[in-house]
Amino acid sequence: MDTRAPAVVAVVVTTGPGPGLEATIASLVAQDYENLSILVMANGDAPEVVDRVAVVAPNTFVKVQETNLGFAAACNEAASMVSGATFMVFCHDDVRLQTSCVSQMVEAAFRQNAGIVTPKIVDYDDSLILVHVGQVADRFGSVRERIELGEIDHGQQDLERDVFVAPGGVTLVRADLFAALRGFDPLIPALGEDLNFCWRAQIAGARIVVAPQAVAAHRQSLARGEREVQAATTRGRSRQDLQRRHQLWTALSCWGVRELVLTVFLWLVLDVVELVVALISRDSDRFGAIMGSWRFAWRHRQQLRTRRAEIETTRVLDDEDIRRLQVGGSSRVRRFVENLVYDGIDRAIGVLPPHEAEIDLSGDTAVGFGASFSEDESFDDVGSTRQFSLLQLFQNFRSQAVLVGAAIVVWVIGTHNLVATHLPTVGRLAPLDSWWTTWHHFFASWSPTGVGSGAPGMPGYAVLGAAGTVVFGRMGILPRTALIFAIPVGAYGIWRLLRGVLSNRARIIAAISYGLLPVCLNLISGGRLDVLSVAAILPFALRRVGAILEWEPFRGEEFVRDSHFGQRSFIHSRGGQILILVIQVAVATAMDPAALLVALLAIGAVAFSARFGVIRSGGYSPLRLAVRVTVAVALLLAPLTADTLLAGSRAASVFGQPTSSDGLSLSHVLSLADGAFGPSLWRYLMVAIAAVGVIASRGPRRSVAEVGVALYAISVLLIVLASHHLMGSFAPDVATLMTAGAVGLAMCVGAAVAALENDIRGTSFGWRQVIAAGTVVCLPLTVVGIVPALSTGRFELPLTGSPDSLASYTPSASGYRVLWIGDPRSLPIAGWSVAPGVSIATSTNSVPGGSTLFAPPLTGAMDVVLRDVADLAAGRSVVVGRDLAIAGISTIVVMNSPAPRIADLQNAPLYEVPAALMDSLAQQRDIAQVSRSGGVTIWKNTAYYGLVASIATPLSTARQLVPGQQIDGTPQNLTWGVESPLSGSTFLVPLAPSSAWSLEVKGHPLARRTVLGWVGQYERSGHSSGPATLVLHQVPLNAIFALATLLLWGVIGLGFGQVERLEVLIRARRTVRNR
């Protein structure tokens, strides 16, 4: 009987130069298996392959594939050429098989009844080092080795066992199995074809075993990066791209429906998290790879369906059985956490360190390998003599990660009630309008602000609209997101700000201290979304300012020269960085105009330090930068600029309104505390620690402290001057100035920690050591101040605002205005200043809302109401109700605190209006007090007669009512754009400007005159009976203006490479068309 060994065909796929090809062929020729044939598949145009193979194995058949379609396609092609073989061995061109490798694998196949056999793979250069002994995989297709990296072979893996994946390199496959599975997946030319094939084999019920007696060495030139994947369909793709998409493809192909749903869901979650990590770490490759993997699957969804159907035809094991063969969890996550814990964030996100960290053994008692043989008598005691030093506290990455984690936990505890509970109408937390309406406010020809205004829409609406677009129109998310994340983003900004200058520990402590400062917490408790945008953006802008001015501590890489607007490299040029700075400042200024001042302060502080500080540097004129930023921001916020220029003497009020000096003592100013979180011992500690940074730091740390203290000092001075009304109408918002001071303080705190690490250490004992000890003691104590605030979970943000309970005091009929009077810090709506500490604003038909978030500096007809309130404040009138009724004001709300002060429930700071104003209100003949509680007093205007009213006798065109003259009006229920019945013949419509409106009956406008200087008076003749409609007629200049502004922003956006990309795209299309 003729018993020949089963025929085995060894398929070697070679690509490119393949330097190890000869060795591979030679090792196959040297195999002791008697019935082995060799087939070489040359991928791509490689004419010398034939000659090279002929030298080693003259009888070997070489098939040249003109196009390199990858390893998988070549193997499939080879399989189609072969017939009659029992087994096929697929080999890379950089392997070297031991003599008995093939025979051992064949024996193992028969012994174990395996469909696929993989040998023990060892290192190409050192056969003692194991590379693969089969592999395992998780549900996501992440492959894991069964051995440790660099594991030495002592025979510990010499057991035949089942594995999930036979790694590529040398793989024995039963020919019939290969045919049944239709070979490798041609859509996976390389990097993942082994996983895909093995998974399908597992589904088909085939066993995959590792035969450790068969040994092969694998160079892994592809995995090592010695050569690139050159298959035609993978050009331009990185290894990460290919691995990700092939993994996803495999999982999508192989899982059944139920497991697929779960796996896809989990995959999406993991990918979203990794996307966030990629965004934070600016890893565009990772970002692109993740997005590319899903794009690939979507583009080939048809093939996916086909593949899945094919797999179902071969299915023997169901998903549950497959899960048992896999490892649990996610290898990807496990690897990330391991790298993070042991090697740090950079390694975890895949950033290779420039060099390995040097181990400093000087003075250290760590035991190295050599010391194991030490003759030192104290050898055995080495470990016990290791001494703890405070300097080691939070020095390593793990402890820093714990510190950051603890800070995050504290923040989550402190803000957990902001996630879902009702947000009161305090500060700038007025309910936002819908996404569409918010955009409409930016384009609108008319806004209800004040008594109506045709001024251009405030750019803040565009910023909110753009932010709303990101959250798919769910505008309610925006205030909560700002409240919860603005300060952490700002803290992260502080951390980045000090990069390269201070140690990681100092940066982290500086970032945490930023979040602990009372001004930041008061922004949350006061609902100041406008200033929160400054708190988030300022640290990033400051860093950029330093880089632009080439200030040594913040200097980054050299700016790219010869780069123009529109090119991809523009972002790395100075011009590009200035443009990014402009964008940052413009966004913040749109929300809070005082942000522009703060940005100029930052430029001034850096410039001053660069000019006079410890480290003199700088190559760019700060004045030039300041002018450029100001002009550019003014252009980008053209509507606001136009409003400001038209406001005349009130122009300076765009930066803020003068407040009363109540509650803003020197201690408040120095500790940057104005609000629910006032000055306290714990907050003074922060200032003291910052002072240590200023005094004790040296070198670059001193430079940082210089900028920080300059920013803090200028802010404090401006706050004092503003609160004492020494700058006239120029009164920048105090909270914004305090935010700038907070950035400065945080920088100084970081410098203090760095000074402890570097400048105090090593000096002889003296005052430095004393203050260092004090600093170390005080640092943790600063956290004490925040502990009581954690209990509310809202950082003292009130539970309810004054407007929330106003409904019971306002007319039930539609058409009324509410006049809000109070200190600017108390008002829940942006307004205008009447006198220091007295500002007013109006809301129409309801509590403050999205249409009155921003008050343009241009007052227009609102001047009339401002004058009335000024008369009221000066005691010059006792009939203010009559005057305010002209503007349709039915209710006056005087606020002495931002929210009602309710015992045991909420305690808002007190910012009282002048007592004379309250006295004057009490003496008015025609307003009656209806409620007084908790810092809020509500007055009802007894002279109110409706927003739109009919009057018996037409008014003259006099600009004011005659003394004693009363208007006897009947309210009309008339809404803009809605046809409504009217009774009477003469109507007053107090919507400014009167020229923008018309009252139309059956499409015909009624005769209109302007009375009292701004009110439209309409008279109906006998021919115009019937219902009427209030129509706005305004040339859409505002819309055109807004559109032009948005176009300008769009052009700016093109500057960062989009022009170049467009050019490339256009050129490519032209080329295709020409072909």
Binding site: F608, S660, E706, V720, H724, H725, A835, A922, R925, I927
Partner: protein, 419 residues
């Protein structure tokens, strides 16, 4: 030194901020003065208009003390009819108010502020109030058989005022039910016949507590026959009060009330041109009335004009009753030692008065309606005269109106001839 330039600059900046913060006092907003004076007052509330008691307060004189013309729009409680008067700067106008059966209140709105007014009648003067109060006291209320007392409470504003009236009598504290939680609608007034509630009292005290809103109160005294006898302005409690122009030939008695829980020591001094007597002291017990007869006194000349000064160790309410005899005593509320504007008006004829300056300071007199003033009989005529120091000055005016404006810590008490 170079290395600390920035730090020095920052330090100097912070020091400047600290210095400004500590030394600069933020004045009240110039557009919102903390206290009103006649130059800015915009409303007049004049309670007590009626002919209920005959010869009652039915004449109104309003003076424009501002530098520009003003329009005054007035009305009575009971009617909606308004009258509009245009006043030239530094001029006054007299109006006869319609007679009303019930005691009512005249209100005037001053467009632009700066007007003072007073009601006249029966030789009595009741200056109008420009702002209301939240707490009102009056002492020395007499409801003996031959006297009536009507408490007029006017609400100057639109906010309904809720008041409670308490009487402190020799029989104890009385809280008449009808006078508790009494709501006075906006722009309205009520008249309470006190003499029907506290009968036969020689020295009672009244307190009006305002729970919400404000009121202007007057106590109108009359005779059973219906003549007006006196008007008590009342007001807040004080530690120091002064009455001027008290003839030493008659009788002068201080009737007061101590509303506190503590014993208060009260002393009264008679001041004349050349001397003053030693203070007469007494003890005012908690929640008790006190009475102190000052004149006649052996140490006080029986001819002349004196000022009487009351000082107490705690806030008290006090009224001076003086007259030629015990049957003709007329009460007057004192003047606190504070600066303020006092307006004296007369319905007709010429006016003369006496200015007494106590406590130092100066008094400036200014004539209106083209008035010329003669001070201390001097031959010179002054439209404006400032007097300083302590002592008396007599002023004669050639026209019905004079205004006295006290600055500093002085005060001036001026009365018309024979009040």
């Amino acid at each position: 030194m170079k290395n600390v330039r920035v730090l020095l600059a920052a330090g100097v900046t912070v020091a400047a901020a600290v210095t400004v913060s500590l030394t600069h006092h933020v004045a009240s907003s110039p557009s919102s003065p903390r206290s009103f004076d006649a130059s800015t007052v915009s409303a007049l509330t004049c309670p007590g208009v009626s002919q209920h008691l005959g010869d009652d307060l039915t004449t109104l004189r309003v003076a424009n003390v501002a530098r520009a013309s003003r329009t005054v729009v007035g009305s009575l409680d009971a009617t909606m009819t308004t009258t509009r008067r245009h006043l030239r700067a530094a001029h006054s106008v007299t109006s006869a108010l319609p007679a009303t059966a019930a005691m009512t209140t005249y209100r005037a709105d001053v467009y632009g502020g700066g007007v003072s007014g007073a009601l006249y009648g029966g030789g009595q003067l009741s200056p109008c109030s420009h702002s209301g109060e939240t707490e009102w006291w009056v002492a020395g209320v007499s409801t003996l058989a031959h006297q009536t007392a009507t408490l007029v409470l006017a609400n100057p504003a639109a906010t309904p005022a809720v008041v409670s009236v308490t009487a402190f009598t020799s029989a104890g504290v009385l809280t008449p039910g009808a006078d508790q939680g009494l709501t006075i609608a906006g722009g309205r007034s009520v008249a309470i016949n006190i003499s029907s509630q506290i009968i036969g009292e020689a020295n009672a005290a009244l307190n009006v507590h305002v729970a919400s809103g404000r009121i202007v109160a007057r106590l109108i005294e009359g005779t059973p026959g219906g003549s007006l006898r006196g008007i008590l302005l009342g007001g807040a409690l004080h530690r120091d009060l002064v009455w001027g122009n008290v003839p030493t030939s008659g009788i002068a008695t201080i009737n007061g009330f101590n509303p506190s829980d503590h014993i208060v020591s009260v002393s009264a001094t008679v001041l004349m041109a050349d001397f003053q007597i030693a203070p007469v002291t007494m003890t005012a017990y908690p929640h008790s009335a006190f009475s102190l007869r000052i004149i006649p006194s052996t140490g006080v000349p029986s001819v002349g004009i004196a000022a009487i000064e009351l000082r107490a160790s705690g806030p008290v309410a006090a009224t001076l009753r003086d007259g030629a005899s015990t049957t003709s005593l007329v009460a007057s509320s004192g003047t606190a030692l504070s600066s303020g504007l006092h307006l004296i008006l007369n319905a007709a004829g010429q006016a003369s008065g006496v200015v007494q300056i106590v406590g130092g300071g100066s008094v400036t007199t200014r004539g209106y309606d083209g008035a010329q003033l003669r001070v201390n009989g001097s031959a010179s005529y002054y439209r404006v005269r400032t007097m300083t120091g302590t002592g008396f000055a007599t002023i004669a005016s050639s026209s019905p109106i004079a205004v006295f404006y006290a600055t500093g810590a002085a005060t001036a008490e001026v009365a018309l001839d024979g009040r």
